[in-house]
Symmetry: C2
Subunit: 454 residues, 2 copies
């Protein structure tokens, strides 16, 4: 296989079977079991991607696209071996068109690399999943995150795609126009298909103006539900909120330990308001009123870049802080999303369930979207704890579905949630499987992900 | 056929072969040639829709969903006869959930009927295509319109769908959560599929808060390009614009004649700013600055409902005014969308082309989106004029594609644009046709629309 690929790529350094490279592309930092690919290919052009896929399709070899490797559901693990297609060398920002509020980038460009190019024009690409993911990976998984309450997920911010199909055909969806009604929406179909319907090689994204003013507020509450209700009020009021994030007291404790900070260890909302100065200042008052109405314990706001960065750094480092807080434990994160008014009840249910099952846990939520992550810390060598985590996770998903929510708010299905997808959308599976069969008849594209075996 | 359907529906009044009902469902107010269905069925439940589809699928009878009949691309014309499935009796607002910022409605609910239910909660469904379309129709065609510059198209405002498939199977996509990453995005696939992949029977839509203040500005310019550039500045600046509409001098002349108004007959931008008072007032100053920088001739703004309604009434009646202005002529409207910086050039090109070809025309644009409609008024009995209209329309689309735009910004493909879809997305047609075959193997769903024959 390596020889055949070398013939296509013509560069030894870009067709690797080195054990360390295989290992790196066979594992991620989640609980999913690693499985190495047989070879890692680093294409530098769409033509090379097409050549690899033509070959792989003819030979029935699995192909797993790989970007920053920051997926949380095992998307990049080549569970059936084959080729890991590492797109990080396709890292060219093809065009920034400030006059059209868009940019065109190859799949391997990271969001911070893109924003470095757009920032001088006063523009930015708004989706922020935390990790410095690649745009191809973000499109493939429909990444979202802290800013989605304002700007939507990746799907809402992509105008057009270049995609290489399983047989090596290159197609283009969408256009550079800000809207289109030209036929079925294949852009949205490829976005979130997790590498199972095609390999995204180029992305045309919307850019947004960088606001005149950003103010961040950190607000603590006596309980999580009061914090949730405040978040719902902020979103419902149509305020200029760009982020509405919720952290529980355990997460604050971990952040204090990790960052040597002294934040009050109480349920906390982090709110960012961005816009014209008058609008932001007016909305800050409304946020404070809403928070006081819910009995907020403290209300701190910061204006200007440095102080604000410190505040958000705490939030952004939550994931690392939590890893550090339970050094000897395995971690696993859930990703439910419920109608926003159901968030307080969902979090109360999660807390009661975790306590009843004797599990250590933390709660983080993109509260403005109703998307919450319950983090488990457990002893992986203890079968009883492993079983308790699984049972509890199942119950959390079941609860979210029972109130009209979804098993995955933003992390996708990948390896770990195929059963939950069946539970949530069993009626749609035949359609999804039909689309998969049509687009990838030989089943070479990221096999074992998203869908159960046919 | 009527007897079989009567057995399923059990109500003579809801299975009609009356000539006037057949005529009404066989024509629309566009240039597309009418063709009557064999029968019109008025289902009152999803079960009845499913029963009709099971029967039609078994008997290979075409089924064409019908809502308000306000489509502009011939979507509802049963070009191969069969059943016109009129969903207007499925007009129940199932649930308004202000606390979740969503509403659930049957397909036949119109947008104004929905907004009447949500308004007491201070909320509204934002998509406004002008016509009082049904939500099912708006979802099926991914309708957009004057407010899409702020709120996006219908697709961006739908969370979940109930869809009856060709064989009568009822499926549910999406959820009531504000975001989801659970499998392929079938919600987006059904939206804009124009009745060719399934019959949408229920829609769960996002609601938005009604703003504290709305101010409308009417700004006239020495030429269309200056008006366009001002629109681009407004959108690029991220202002609180809810509508940014452009009308040419000919359209203003028609409005004055139709409404007995005395607006200056010059290229005009209609801009609506909505939001918190401080934000709107601040942005109004910025709009005025931008307009003055482009040499605006006049700048009028209105605050408060009555004056504002008068202003927008002029815009909303543009379509009727244009019909009245050319009483003996046939009319046809194009629907291109280009990257916003290309709009001034596209409109200049259109003006030159129309003048060179000796055609009467008007220009209307959702300028904030780069979406423009060139209206032709012509003598349908004159083969030379008919040919000139066709040639000119082709050239307009070709121009839009040449600058990275699309052949349809919001009206869809329907009957009239299948050739343009082939021109724009020839590489995607095999995928679209494959999806169509999978979801509708007998080809009963709105045959002859969107896709060329296989």
């Amino acid at each position: 296989m390596r020889d055949a690929l070398l013939e296509l790529i013509g560069d030894e350094a870009r067709v690797s079977v080195s054990p360390s490279v295989l290992d790196q592309h066979g594992s991620d930092f989640t609980h999913h079991r690693p499985h190495a690919p047989d070879v890692v290919v680093f294409p530098e052009s769409t033509d090379e991607v097409a050549a690899v896929l033509r070959y792989a399709n003819a030979e029935r070899i699995p192909v797993v696209p790989y970007g920053a490797g920051s997926s949380l559901e095992g998307h990049t693990i080549p569970v059936r071996g084959g080729i890991s297609l590492d797109l990080t060398r396709m890292d060219r920002v093809v065009d920034v068109r400030p006059q059209d509020l868009l940019a065109i980038a190859e799949a391997g460009v990271t969001r911070t690399a893109l924003n470095a190019k757009t920032q001088p024009h006063g523009l930015f690409f708004p989706v922020d999943p935390g990790a410095d993911a690649t745009l191809g990976g973000m499109a493939a998984t429909n990444a979202s995150g802290t800013t989605s309450v304002r700007y939507g997920s990746t799907r809402a911010n992509v105008l057009a795609l270049e995609v290489v199909l399983a047989d090596g055909t290159v197609v283009h969806t969408g256009s550079r126009a800000r809207k289109t009604s030209a036929g079925y929406d294949l852009t949205s179909l490829f976005i979130g298909s997790e590498g199972t319907l095609g390999v995204i090689t180029q992305v045309t994204v919307r850019l947004h103006g960088i606001a005149e003013l950003a103010i961040s507020a950190r607000i603590t509450f006596p309980d999580l539900e009061a914090a949730c209700r405040t978040a719902v009020a902020i979103v419902g009021g149509g305020l200029t909120a760009a982020r509405v994030e919720l952290l529980d007291e355990r997460t604050l404790r971990a952040i204090n330990a990790y960052k040597e900070t002294s934040y009050l260890e109480a349920p906390t909302l982090f709110v960012e308001l961005t816009g014209a100065e008058a609008a932001v200042l007016g909305d800050l008052e409304l946020v404070q009123l809403a928070a006081e109405g819910e009995g907020a314990l403290t209300f701190d706001s910061e204006r200007g870049t440095d102080a604000q960065l410190a505040l958000w750094e705490a939030r952004h480092h939550a994931a690392f802080a939590l890893l550090a807080a339970f050094p000897d434990k395995a971690r696993r994160t859930s990703d439910m999303c419920v109608p926003i008014s159901e968030l307080p009840g969902a979090i109360r249910h999660a807390q009661e369930l975790m306590s009843a099952n004797g599990l250590e846990f933390t709660v983080l939520a993109h509260a403005g979207d109703g998307n919450y992550h319950v983090g488990f810390a457990f002893d992986e060598d203890d079968p009883a704890q492993r079983a308790a985590v699984q049972t509890t996770n199942d119950a959390l998903v079941e609860y979210a579905l029972s109130v009209g929510g979804t098993c995955s708010g933003e992390h996708g299905i990948g390896l770990g949630k195929i059963g939950y997808l069946q539970r949530e959308h069993g009626d749609l599976l035949p359609l999804m499987q039909g689309i998969k069969r049509q687009l990838d008849p030989n089943g070479i594209l990221n096999p074992g992900k998203v869908l159960p075996p046919d």
